[in-house]
């Protein structure tokens, strides 16, 4: 047991625990990428990690800055073209978990990474959807990880980049989307799962030392809790060491490149 860790580290480690050895995971950059690689380096050594640049079964020694870093290709089982990636592997239904981050998220797991404000005259133009719109509908399940904030977790998102559960209930089914959709949300404060009927994200576990007030204060919708709230196990020594070593290796590798400026 180690009580000396950051909420960010907790988030990454808890997210890594959700992944299984036989998962085939389509990895988003940032927090999802760190979590997926911690899973691979701890309890899920045989997990298949796929990045949208076409790298299948990759095992990077450092965290990539982009989804197409050389490290991903060099350590992959194989690398396919981008059209093949989206056609055969994602649309073909071979991905068990799509792991996404979000700029804005609502309580039904709908994600906005397109614009803040109006689409035609945006306040902030964000990068857009990339692979996410089809990851959200073609992966068997979607896991989401993000830090809680009032700006990020909102009652109403400004743009439906990637469809979660719509306005809840069985809206996915009624739109002929036959995958499960968002089934897990890991934040820096809690573990959330959709209510089986309403599909609203509900807190199932508070991370050690986190109160209900802290969760509500950094969430833009009225938070609901499951009947039996658990306390998330803090990171183990092994998990923390694995994450810190990975970050350290990444830092060293990137600073080595800095010298070349």
């Amino acid at each position: 047991m180690n009580n000396n860790y950051s909420p960010d580290e907790m988030m990454t480690i808890v997210a890594s625990r959700a992944l299984k050895n036989d998962d085939v995971c389509f990895v988003g950059i940032g927090a999802p990428s760190a979590a997926c690689n911690i899973a691979r380096l701890t309890h899920a050594p045989d997990i298949t990690l796929i990045y949208e640049s076409g790298t299948i079964g990759t095992a990077p020694n450092i965290l990539p800055l982009s989804i197409g870093d050389g490290e991903l290709c060099e350590t992959a089982l194989t690398t396919v073209s981008v059209p093949e990636m989206f056609r055969y592997w994602l649309q073909g239904g071979r991905i068990t978990i799509g792991f996404l981050g979000a700029a804005q998220l609502d309580k039904f797991g709908n994600i906005n990474t397109t614009v803040i404000g109006d689409y035609s005259g945006p306040k902030t133009r964000l990068p857009g959807g990339g692979g996410a719109p089809e990851i959200a509908s073609s992966a068997k399940q979607v896991y989401i990880t993000m830090k809680q904030s009032l700006r990020g977790m909102v009652e109403k998102i400004d743009f439906f980049t990637s469809f979660g559960h719509g306005s809840g209930g069985n809206e996915r089914k009624s739109r002929n989307i036959n995958t499960e959709g968002p089934s897990l949300l890991i934040t820096d404060l809690a573990i959330w799962k959709p209510d089986p009927i309403s599909k609203e994200f509900t807190v199932h576990s508070l991370h050690t030392g986190v109160s209900k007030e802290m969760v509500q204060d950094s969430c833009g919708w009225k938070v609901k809790y499951s009947d039996n709230i658990e306390v998330t196990e803090p990171p183990t020594e092994l998990e923390l060491k694995t994450l810190r070593d990975l970050k350290e290796r990444t830092k060293i590798a990137n600073s080595r490149k800095d010298i070349n400026l």
Partner: protein, 286 residues
Amino acid sequence: MTKFLSLEEGVRENLKPGNQVCFEGFTHLIPHASAHEVIRQKIGSLTIVRMTPDVIYDQLIGMGLVKKMIFSYAGNPGVGLLRRFRDSVENGWPNKIEIEEHSHSAMAHAYEAGAAGLPCAIFRGYMGAELREVNSNIKEVTCPFTGEELTAIPALNPDVAFIHAQKADKKGNVLIEGILGVQKEAVLASKRSIVTVEEIVEKLDCHPNTTILPYWTTSAICHVPGGAHPSYARGYYKRDNANYIEWDKIASDRATFLSWMQENVIKVSPKIFQNRIKNLKEDENE
């Protein structure tokens, strides 16, 4: 039938004002030198196409050469947003570009349809996604066999494609290995294409699957060592991540951007790229 040209000639012969043009590359092998040559020749009113517009698209937009952009993810990979693209869309500087926005899956399918000589791409996409509401090129189509509602978008057939590759042989056959992206599809979908390469060799002498484009499929081969920098070329040099991080600062201010472009693009030639990769060579960093 391909010709061996200097990059200046290759651009001048193939790209005209008002053309639809793509500079493809998926993190790996992004044709930076080609985009800089287009900027030097001030070829404008372009419709630029790319799955992942990044630094060079920020530069083309900021220099006022772009009328419209067709894309699926406009960001500085691993760093953040594109400042010049944002300034255009949010504030109309130097002009407000028109955008046609897609998902990666859609763009990949559209290039593939273009390469396959089909008028449109059909796939299962945009389910519940709001891009359907803002992009009139996203339509529904019913499968005549199963009745499933699918999505159709027009094929992409740019006037010109620019790509960067590791090698060409003396005839102009092109080799790419590593992350392949959508370059083969982009070249075959386009009316004309220019390939910059790290090296021109007698014989490719390679794995039987790595010669991706026979010499009769492209318009010009241009020898530009380092031509992908700050992107990378597997086997030659690494991605210059620090340069991408630095771009965020340069692009955040209009005046800083313009003076950087003057010094680093307008006043130089494609030859400068070989100097930029000197300290990034793969073996020297191991």
